[in-house]
């Protein structure tokens, strides 16, 4: 079992998975609490469109993924603020539009490009040392910013108008959160893939949500669950020769359903009913 840890690529993938698991689950807490779940999905597809365009025109994929991701979250943020349309509708439109762009870019490419599909489905076992370095640096930046502004982020997740009213620069913090969501998605693209990154953001946080009534506990639980699932998923993937993205996500999903069954919140409701 442990001899596989001797391989360089295995060490890299475990480190990448653990990092992505941590950063996704921390940002996920704020995404779940602030009700931005859909934005995560929309951003992932936009970022993937960026990757596809990069391969089409021969540019490095990461910067374009960041540009596409940021553009999507900011547009969504403006839409939410103006509140003209229900958010799920506007995101639904953006989400399909960016997916259409991605398909268009792929269609314009000559021949089959396996690397592009790596970003769609995730391939943590093929993370290169350079990619790992980028993942580590970006994750540290995202986690550092989240930690620095955690009290403001909690406040806007709880009640943005109240936060604004009591002297927190709530709008700016909201856009900061959106920016961090986009960066997190980009960081995770290579590891879990555009389709599944959404699950990595959502599942650990919503599992933790089932388990506690305290904000600080929720974050701690989410990180433990996120890292454990990511690492466990990579081990499963290697051991049984499964694709890594689905292994991570399905492991997390299983734990989510267990938590729903065992949730103290749920039990209380049954008792009082």
């Amino acid at each position: 079992m442990f001899e596989m840890l001797a391989y360089d690529f295995m060490q890299r993938s475990l480190l990448a998975a653990a990092t992505v698991g941590a950063v996704c689950s921390v940002i996920g807490v704020f995404v779940v609490l602030r009700g931005l779940a859909f934005i995560g999905a929309g951003t992932a597809h936009a970022a993937f469109a960026g990757v596809a365009l990069a391969y089409l025109v021969g540019l490095p994929p990461l910067p374009l993924a960041i540009v596409f991701g940021l553009a999507t979250v900011w547009v969504t943020g403006v839409m939410e603020e103006q509140g003209r349309m229900k958010l799920d509708v506007s995101i639904g439109i953006l989400y399909t539009a960016t997916m259409a762009l991605a398909i268009l870019f792929i269609g314009l490419m000559k021949g089959y490009n396996a690397e592009v599909y790596g970003y769609l489905f995730g391939s943590v076992l093929s993370v290169t040392p350079d990619e790992l370095r980028v993942i580590l640096v970006l994750s540290m930046v995202v986690l550092g910013v989240l930690l620095t502004f955690s009290k403001e982020l909690y406040f806007i997740a709880f009640d943005q108008e109240m936060a604004e009213a009591s002297g927190v620069p709530a709008r700016r913090i909201f856009y900061l959160l959106l920016t961090l969501v986009a960066l997190t998605v980009v960081v995770s693209l290579k590891t879990v893939g555009a389709i599944l990154v959404f699950a990595m953001i959502l599942i650990p946080a919503s599992t933790a949500y089932q388990l506690t009534h305290s904000l600080s506990h929720m974050t701690a639980y989410a990180v433990v669950i996120g890292v454990a699932c990511a690492v466990g998923g990579v081990l499963l993937s290697y051991g049984w020769d499964l694709p890594s993205g689905p292994a991570i996500v399905l492991l997390a999903t299983t734990i989510f359903f267990l938590s729903v069954l065992l949730s103290p919140k749920r039990r209380r409701r049954v008792q009082t009913a």
């Binding site: 406040f155 108008e161 009591s166 620069p169 904000l215 600080s216």
Partner: protein, 260 residues
């Protein structure tokens, strides 16, 4: 002569399709206790949000602490404690009572500072003011509506504000707590010299405590000592019904006939 800290000067506020407050001129001086009354939709909540700088004036101006309301900065807002009108609360939101009250400290702390032991002590003291000090670690969502209201009052107090805006603080809480909340507000006004703006429909409850009553219905109909505002000819313009005012009570004429 006390200093004016909130000055409405022919101010108009509204939303894209409605005017909520029109041509309001009103000065509130430091240390004053002002009650705001008016029927539903008369612009009372809008008045609070305007003072917090959450709305742009469509006409006229509003100054708070000598600062135009549209330029109100975070450090100004941190000096204004606000109890919002009771809205829907997500009962599943994972937050404890103490975590909620600590949020009152965040504005004053500023962006890069962590809450210290002192902030915790302030939050604990605020909780003991509203009699919730033994529920620190309870989930906010597990409290009753009235208990949640008390926690939100504690959050406003934890800000250690100079000005307190209370939007219907006693709505939905039991009569004993209503009185203790009002006692607390009187104490904050008298002993800590806070400026207080209190919105309520319960005129009888506050008429003996406030320095001034403000009567709103989109426009400002009256502002003055309670005995000047609570007159049938003044109230009729706003409430549209005859009201009988006795030594202690204020009764709609219809109800009056009904019960006697």
């Amino acid at each position: 002569m006390a200093k004016t800290i909130i000055r409405f000067d022919h101010a108009t506020f509204g939303f894209s399709d409605v005017i909520a407050l029109q041509d309001i001129s009103l000065d509130i001086t430091e240390g004053e206790f002002v009650g705001v009354i008016g029927p539903n939709g008369s612009g009372k909540t809008t008045l609070c949000r305007a003072v917090l700088g959450l709305m742009q004036p469509m006409g006229g101006s509003l100054q708070i602490f000598d600062c135009a309301c549209e330029e109100l900065r975070c450090h100004h807002r941190a000096r204004i404690g606000y109890l919002p009108q009771k809205g829907a609360l997500d009962r599943n939101f994972p937050i404890t009572v103490l975590e909620t009250v600590m949020m009152g400290r965040y504005g004053a702390l500023g962006l890069f500072n962590r809450p210290s032991k002192r902030d915790r002590d302030i939050a604990l003291e605020a909780l003991s003011h509203v009699g919730m000090e033994d529920r620190l670690d309870s989930a906010l969502g597990h409290l009753s509506g009235g208990q949640q209201q008390r926690v939100f009052i504690a959050r406003a107090l934890a800000q250690q504000p100079d000005v307190l805006l209370l939007d219907e603080p006693t709505t939905g809480i039991d009569i004993t707590t209503q009185h203790s909340v009002l006692d607390l507000i009187r104490h904050l006004h008298r002993d800590l010299k806070l400026t207080i703006l209190l919105i309520t429909h319960d005129i009888n409850m506050i008429r003996s405590s406030v320095d001034r009553l403000v009567l709103l219905k989109t426009r400002l109909y009256a502002a003055g000592p309670p005995e000047e505002v609570l007159r049938p000819d003044v109230l009729r313009q706003v409430y549209g019904k005859d009201l009988v005012i006795t030594e202690k009570d204020l009764i709609l004429v219809e109800d009056y006939h009904h019960h006697h």
